[in-house]
Symmetry: C2
Subunit: 189 residues, 2 copies
């Protein structure tokens, strides 16, 4: 059974029997080595990914400097979303921050699947809603909490981020200098 | 013709003839006086709104202090989104910042409409995508620009915000002290 099918059973409809009703899109499995760029700036994103193992970063360019806009942990979907949705050159770079294992599908294939599969339509709706709500949550967090509070929250709720992602990248996610994050980390130990 | 129908014609499908195929939900029109709370903290949001005239603010509470998470201008949909989507008590307060005129629909009514109306399904998908992309754009802006740059961008692209919304509220949107915004404004004049 594919991981994406398992995700659908867990989050969308646990009565689906994929053995007798296989998902009407092709799902591929792939591995990326640490440091591999999955989607480059300027590329048009044509794939949706599901992370099985590893960590992935979505990065934007701020005058030659990286800023991390998303940290992806296993069991989530990711993509250079806006390029995927708008068919425009990506201003998001998607990077394997560790060795990664993913499943992915082709956008064109999914679009065809939408025409006939209720399950895929439900998945599409679920993901759009989830992406929006996640962004809203993050926005609220960044508007109301200090960098130190956000770091502490990450440490408590997603310690694997602190374990697997370089300090420099976490600082780029918090929007602060690595030195400021080092000070915060020292203070907290 | 309803404004929401006009929006659908402009953004989703300009071949729809609403005269012969009326939208299968009820749309109401309503006015709010300046300062009126449209959705209160803790309330469960049951309506989706379309702003015809005026400006609306979406506010979150940061330990008793308001932070502005969204500034809504005419010709956009708004709501206490997460409460609407999750059926949970709202942590967003929706406020008429000026006298406002809106159209709105009831969520329950829209959900019924989804069962039969392709147009409403398209609208639902369009809006979820738009809300997500807007949030992503805002996130990128706040991660890469200074408050002064963001204020300047607002001044150039959406001058009506500066015209109609109190400085205090714009500062709450930028996440800075009103005094810092005053300094920025002085510097720019």
């Amino acid at each position: 059974m594919k991981y994406i099918e398992k995700f659908i059973q867990e989050h969308i409809d646990n009565n689906i029997d994929f053995k007798n009703n296989p998902l009407s899109i092709q799902i591929f499995t792939k591995s990326f080595r640490k440091g591999k760029v999955i989607t480059e700036f300027g590329q048009i994103e044509k794939r949706g990914y599901y992370l099985i193992e590893g960590t992935v970063l979505c990065i934007i360019d701020d005058d030659g400097e990286d800023k991390v806009i998303d940290i992806i942990l296993p069991d989530s979907f990711f993509s250079a979303y806006n390029s995927y949705l708008l068919d425009a050159p990506s201003d998001i770079k998607v990077l394997a921050s560790t060795d990664c294992k993913v499943e992915y599908f082709e956008k064109e294939n999914l679009k065809k699947g939408f025409e006939t599969s209720l399950t895929l339509n439900k998945l599409g709706r679920y993901l759009k809603e989830k992406f929006f709500l996640d962004k809203l949550e993050k926005e609220k967090t960044f508007l109301t909490k200090t960098s130190e509070e956000i770091y502490l929250e990450i440490l408590n709720t997603k310690p694997e981020i602190v374990k697997h992602i370089p300090v420099k990248r976490i600082a780029q996610y918090l929007g602060i200098h690595p030195e400021s994050l080092s000070r915060i980390r020292k203070k907290l130990t």
